[in-house]
Symmetry: C2
Subunit: 342 residues, 2 copies
């Protein structure tokens, strides 16, 4: 993996490992605001659910396992993925394309637990807090909240990742997973859920994970939620030298809660476009892998691009919407790659 920072651990998946529908746990991207949790005692662990609820309570891991099970494919992406590919520099970890991965998760629907604690009339948001301790001088605790509606419809509390217990580095024993939403909404090492009458207020809600422009108050920006409609090429690699002939271009496209319905590929920097063929599983909330078989005779530099369309006809933009923290880079041009036919 490519390590962006060692403390806290931020690392992206090698491009070769993004050519599969499933991303192996061993190379799944790491995004942390704090030190990794290195040990959890399941006998001591409890999940507290409190706040604007009629029946606050605690749940042991054994109790969590006894609820009806949910299994769901879901592509998880860091909101800053693609940041380093933006034309104008933006603050934050320099992710290229590997801050994303796809897994099949097992767990319990958050709504099952919320039904038991009974949110009050006043309930609007659901806050997540992990076991990880605040990091750095500011001692800012990583707490985030999502709207009650999202929590009640498509948020999983995951204890399983691809048929294995959730790995410690990915949030064991329990991770919130707002399906189709960026990783910042998917709190690891979950220990407390607080039902709130408004969005949680704090550094990680107000100052970051918002889309805003220079000179704008961060808090007036839009909170990052679902993954942008986006594509990138995983084969060939940028700058690769290839022989003339038949070249299989592989890539992936996703759109959070949207379904990707078409992907077009250009091998001439966007002048002409040809439809890619989808390969592999097609599940809501999960990326779609695709390929385009390119026959090339002309030597020289070729610029490859991919552009996704969702089932409602929305097109991935040719250029990303720049913002101060460089979130949601889904520009076709920003993700173009050059290859050399030699």
């Amino acid at each position: 993996m490519r390590i962006l920072t060692g403390r806290p651990l931020n690392a992206e998946t090698p491009t070769e490992s993004l050519r599969s529908w499933i991303t192996a746990n061993s190379v799944f991207f790491h995004r942390n605001q704090s030190e990794l949790i290195t040990a959890v005692s399941l006998t001591e662990w409890k999940l507290t659910v409190e706040g604007e609820v009629e029946n606050p309570g605690e749940f042991s891991f054994g109790e969590i396992l006894r609820y009806p099970k949910a299994i769901c494919a879901n592509t998880l992406e860091c909101s800053g993925n693609g940041r380093s590919l933006l034309r104008e520099k933006a603050s934050g970890n320099p992710w290229t394309i590997g801050g994303v991965g796809n897994a099949v998760w097992g767990g319990v629907w958050l709504k099952e637990l919320l039904r038991i604690v009974k949110p009050k009339e006043s309930a609007r948001h659901v806050g997540f807090e992990g076991m990880d301790e605040p990091y750095g001088a500011a001692r800012l605790k990583f707490i985030r909240s999502i709207p009650l509606d999202k929590a009640m419809t498509s948020t999983l509390l995951a204890y399983e990742m691809k048929g294995e217990p959730l790995p410690l580095a990915h949030g064991f024993p329990l991770r919130a997973l707002a399906l189709g939403w960026v990783g910042a909404n998917c709190c690891k090492w979950l220990r407390k859920i607080t039902v709130l009458d408004r969005p949680y207020e704090g550094h990680y809600m107000d100052q970051v994970y918002r889309v805003f422009q220079k000179g704008q108050d961060p808090k007036s920006g839009t909170v990052v939620t679902q993954l942008p409609l986006k594509s990138f090429i995983t084969q060939p690699l940028p700058g690769e030298s290839l022989k003339p002939g038949t070249i299989v271009i592989l890539g992936t496209s996703y759109g959070g809660e949207r379904r990707v319905s078409r992907v077009d590929v250009s091998v001439d920097g966007g002048r002409s476009w040809f439809p890619a063929e989808f390969i592999g599983p097609h599940e809501r909330f999960a990326w779609r892998q695709w390929q385009y078989v390119w026959t090339v005779k002309k030597r020289g530099t070729h610029c490859l691009m991919a552009r996704a369309v969702d089932s409602e006809g929305n097109e991935q933009p040719m250029e990303a919407h720049w913002n101060v923290l460089g979130y949601g880079n889904n520009g076709v041009r920003e993700h173009a790659i050059s290859v050399f036919i030699v």
Copy 2:
């Protein structure tokens, strides 16, 4: 894992690991006729394709990787899975329910290679031969063939298992995967493909992997092909003691090339039936996980059963069709479990 035999290695997946849509590679069942291959040199490895073809040839691993990619979810099962649950003893490894697993595989369609070698008019079957050496006194080589039509429509040559290179124990670098068909048709450590004008003749085609009765010539029996329409319960475990209340019954159903469209569960030994709810991905050739939330007050022994129906209305049989080698046990009663409410 539960080891059935150490040499050759035959081992089944623990029931707890069958409660996910994806079966982790680390606990995926092992079924071997020979010693495991412990090392493969990719630079020396070649796949030979010959026989009734116009252009016999060899393919390096690098060449295989350059073909268009196929990705497919596929449930793989040993034809003898469930053998030990048959009422009347049958010869062979005593599999319970764990000789099955589900994975998402990556590779190349076999038809891509066959198109290059061009099967002759006379071509009828496609034979697979692995790198594993014959085992035991009889020195019988494990060679099997499948019909050309299956080879041309839905057979993968897999080099990837759940986003990782195919593990050595599961056939690295390349495994034939006749989608929806039992493992005997899915040759590991593939090194030679032979196009034939008739089914391959040999021990593993004629004497075993056929369904026949006592006194019948094995060769007149039916060759095992696709997985039977089948269900089993993965939670609770057989013989488990549980408290009265709400109990989540988990299970899985599959049918090879057939799609499972309904699963019914009985908690009273088959007198009454209630529909299960499907959970998780739904992909052709892959099992469907399901659950039934059972509310029970009455203490004592309860007999749980599950029965699948496919999209053409075929029902899983209440009793398995017994045969000498105990293949294809898909009986509802054979897979019933008892639990105790205490």
